[in-house]
């Protein structure tokens, strides 16, 4: 009786397992298949060899991703710490206020930044009105990074905040009793204890930064192509699926290596915390 009911229960997972094999596992194999074949379906290495020409774009994407992640961390940590010092009601309001913009479509928010930063945009119109020379902001690497920080920084705040807010107050008080000043409490106690939050924040910012497209097209004026833009072009304009697949494959491996590296800093079990 009990045996059969647990068999039934396990069978509940069957439809999902089928779905998972067809729509999660098989598509990843498809990426590999397309990367190693030509348009006629014959085995070839030419898509992999062609990657050589995209090395610069890969390096730029990783570089921008690293800068975005570092800036996000520098902005997010003090923010998470500052709000965690206040009442619970204040904390939840602040987190809500931080997340509300994320519910808006990211395309329209990025487009709005374009209007703020462009040569005839809001900042430059204001500068001209009070008699200053306009500043060139749009179509610079700075604008691209600003767009990425804007879109992904909240994903750094959330995990850091959730670690800091669960920290035992007594530890901080103990540190103060033992003679730590405010700065030392942060560097010696709060910072080391929030490492798990920082690690998942880094992954949550770095992965979308490296793979983003659109932001660089709108705020960089097409001058600073990233991996995402290159993949998008292969699939939506040049229709070279094989080359697109090989670039995607490399991006996937890159992210995998990066996540495996980050995972060495934390010891999560298989069903580790859910994001957001």
């Amino acid at each position: 009786m009990k045996k059969s009911s647990s068999l039934w229960a396990r069978l509940c997972a069957a439809p999902y397992i089928v779905w998972m094999i067809i729509f999660i596992a098989a598509p990843l194999l498809m990426v590999a298949y397309y990367a190693f074949t030509d348009a006629a379906g014959n085995f070839t290495l030419k898509n992999i060899v062609a990657l050589d020409g995209y090395a610069g774009i890969f390096i730029r994407s990783i570089w921008y991703g690293i800068i975005t992640t570092i800036i996000s961390l520098i902005i997010a940590f003090p923010f998470a710490y500052a709000i965690s010092q206040k009442s619970t009601k204040y904390q939840s309001t602040m987190i809500m206020l931080l997340m509300v913009p994320m519910w808006m479509n990211f395309l329209i928010r990025t487009y709005s930044w374009m209007n703020i930063l462009s040569d005839n945009g809001i900042i430059n119109t204001a500068l001209k009105a009070i008699g200053f020379a306009p500043i060139e902001m749009i179509n610079t690497p700075g604008a691209v990074i600003l767009g990425m920080v804007y879109n992904f920084m909240p994903y750094m705040v959330l995990p850091i905040y959730s670690v800091i807010s669960k920290m035992d107050r007594n530890i901080i008080e103990a540190a103060q009793d033992l003679g730590c000043n405010k700065l030392k409490v942060i560097t010696r106690v709060v910072l080391p204890m929030s490492v798990p939050g920082i690690v998942s924040g880094i992954t949550m910012v770095f992965v979308p930064s490296v793979s983003t497209f659109y932001i660089s097209q709108k705020l960089g004026g097409g001058k600073y192509d990233l991996i995402g833009d290159t993949i998008e072009r292969q699939f939506q304009t040049s229709y070279n699926y094989n080359l697109g697949a090989s670039i995607s494959l490399v991006l996937m491996i890159l992210l995998l290596v990066c996540m495996a590296f980050m995972n060495t800093f934390t010891s999560d079990d298989e069903e580790g915390g859910i994001v957001i």
Partner: protein, 268 residues
Amino acid sequence: MKTINKLYTALILIFMYAPIAVLILFSFNESNSTSVFSGFSLKWYIELFNDGETLKALYNTLILAVLSSVIATILGTAAAVGIDYMKKGPLRSIIMTITNIPMMNADIVTGVSLMLLFVFIATIFGISGILGFGTLLIAHVTFNLPYVILSVLPKLKQLDPHLTEAAQDLGCTPFQAFLKVVIPNILSGVLTGMIMAFTLSLDDFVISYFASGPEFQTLPLRIFSMTKRRVTPDMYALSTLIFVAILILLLLNNLTKKDESGVKGAKK
């Protein structure tokens, strides 16, 4: 120190809300410029309600979000029950690892990989124009599933297995025991998963962009095709309305929470 804290949080919030303030302001602009404000008018809101294609995209987005979140919730909850019963072992860890892939992987790779699968199937069976509502629905269910499974599994873990046994000892069939004991206990996780799936589906652009065809447009796809040219302020008007709707929903949510805590306080 306190003023620095306040100043800093204020600065971050100004940064987060600057583009939103700009788009709300220019949704009321008289001219079609999105950088020079020439006067107050409501004409873009009127324009929006006459823009059939945008309204159709909004409708498509809602249909897709409802369908995909419901399908993902049913499949995902059943999957979580099955996984929970499995013994810890290689099979279970393989399933959990693959389940995590769509959450960890870059959206663009998920989108591209699904597109390649659809294209591959289309070439094998000689189907033309396979990308459309069906493929979009499959894609949305696929990226929603992990979120449902991972919000239901912890609830199942917390559930005392003796409860189900007790129900069966008291005369329930295993199925009845499942309905009357398991489901009520995991309901909050199921609902969290469904809401998360619904909002993810509403907002998704990148995966939809690769998994959809020309004849079925969602709102993010519509916005994308418009930003390729010049965005007219009616998109800003739509975003303003969405923003207001989100604010109202969140405020209502907070108010009801306050009521609950008030009741609990009174009972004490």
